[in-house]
Symmetry: C2
Amino acid sequence: MNLRELALQLGLSQTTVSRALNGYPEVSEATRKRVRDAADKFSYRPNTRAKGLATGRSMAVGHVIPVSDQHEMVNPIFADVIAGAGEAYAEAGYDLVLSLVGARDEAAFYRDLASRGTIDGIIVHGPRHNDPRLPLLKEIGLPFLVHGRSSLADVSYSWVDVNNRSAFYRAAGLLLDLGHRRIGLINGLAGMDFAVRREDGYRRALTERGIHVDPDLIAEGEMTEAHGWASAREMLSMPDPPTAFLVSSIISAFGVRRAAAEQDIALGSELSVVVFDDDLSYFRSDGGVPQFTSVRSSVREAGRMAAEMLLDIIREGSDEPRQRLLEAELTIGRSTGPVPTHEGSKTTG
Amino acid sequence: MNLRELALQLGLSQTTVSRALNGYPEVSEATRKRVRDAADKFSYRPNTRAKGLATGRSMAVGHVIPVSDQHEMVNPIFADVIAGAGEAYAEAGYDLVLSLVGARDEAAFYRDLASRGTIDGIIVHGPRHNDPRLPLLKEIGLPFLVHGRSSLADVSYSWVDVNNRSAFYRAAGLLLDLGHRRIGLINGLAGMDFAVRREDGYRRALTERGIHVDPDLIAEGEMTEAHGWASAREMLSMPDPPTAFLVSSIISAFGVRRAAAEQDIALGSELSVVVFDDDLSYFRSDGGVPQFTSVRSSVREAGRMAAEMLLDIIREGSDEPRQRLLEAELTIGRSTGPVPTHEGSKTTG
DNA sequence: AATGGAATTGAAAGCGCTTTGAATATCATG
DNA sequence: CATGATATTCAAAGCGCTTTCAATTCCATT
């Protein structure tokens, strides 16, 4: 059933039927009702493509997930970000077009997407420190919004981000207050903007208290369980091991917990851990004192905001950038405690 | 730059240009080259919507992720499934339209998707035991393929699935061979088809060896870390606790590991664990003897297969169903061992 | 009854592409 | 040199919608 057939059924012109369904004012309430009822009865849905062709809008938003050519990994946080964004799209009647693209051919891909007119706007995921995608998108002229930020990129653009620097500054501060002086940082992939900012916050907190930043206590990598495990294991076997860790992801934190368990080191007393918690649904602690002390910010909420802001931008057509900085919430869990005294220290093995 | 303008530039008709670019044979090689070069030069990309309107195909595939109304959770395995599928689409020039839909209004949603013509086919995720979506989609007439299966659904349909029953049958068999008699099953959400099949396999293995299936040793729920932890904790505090667990997800297995650690129970010796490992990229053990003994099957590979099969179905237009059953790989890791003898048992707390 | 404005409705063009059916150019052949 | 086959090219219709501009209807006024 298409518009022509429906109009025929009703003995009306396509014009009137179209107007009635799209809520134009110049159609009488009587006919509008008649049209709506008929549309319901025949369960008529306007063809997306035809509508898009006529209006010039596609009513779709693109999400581009960068896939690092080396590891080909997909970070599970994207699932939650997209779930949040999806809610916004569903409410607004937009579709979500998802693409996973290797960094190699990203530029061409964005140009394609824009000139084929598949989408009306785009959400950029996983921005790197000085991300070439932003000037590119600016040049292409496609409305976009970044989940995260890209320092050094000297273009103005819209973004939603959590205050990573302050989150790690505060988290480090907490550990310092507890007396920790050797604090390991198990961070995300070098070059990712969030990782750079987190390290910044960590460094600032230490430096402000006159503590030397030991490069051996900083690990970077894809935030897998194995990465957390390997990094913690290595640092814990140093002659002067850290008494605390700052971990960029709850998934890596599981690995840290495993490393600690293997060496019979008790979390919370012998070793403190603060994690950055994206509040992923599958890793939420339900009720009670949480497992891990954390700086938490729901990535799903961020996804929702990002989508809503992008839709605003698309609708208003204005190009003045919008930005939203979220503050993470510092929650004390069971994984932190005062630095262990020397007599309390134990032999490993 | 659109087709008309390009044709104008070339002094050719739209017809010829269109044919040249789409590889029709009735265009001379000389003009084809001329057209291709010009298209390159002006970086012309045909408008998706116009093309779709003209051809009747949208060159897009839908993925519908069911969001349970109660928990609003998004399983991280979807990220990997979709990554796999995404590869296939990228190669074939298809777009991927992602929707997250609450079970409540799913029927309406599918009908919409079909009649609006947004997509040419659909991948069904997370099928339940007797999933109403399958007959519905059959009725609608939209090509679809299920990742997983739905027993009892008395329609024939295409699917890609891992042999869950055999995987758990074998996993349970392994534990039984090791002398375990009290084996806990920490399964996925009741009603999900995979969970039903896994329980089947577990039951069959036990029953065949004349072992009573204790309903108290079966836990079901969303496969979170917390679920694994809570279920293991509860079972381990039973008067006659299990000496081994079969766990439906590596994420829940982390929770099991936590519960064991809390009670100072050593994995592999005092407690055995076999997990179903979807080979998620963020939870892969890299090299060496894996953490967990597992039955493993890459969900990403499955996603890729699902996409490829659906594209075949769409292209061929035949409606005879295709099916692909994958066998999981049983890999011995460090989490399993012979059942502990009684003298070796320890006091808890 | 004639008039003009407001309220409704409709015909037709256009969005950018594919594809049918017709037209033209090219060429080997008798 | 005409002829028919073959290789190329093109004009125009059509995909299903929106939207401009024009037409019609309806009323309150004069």
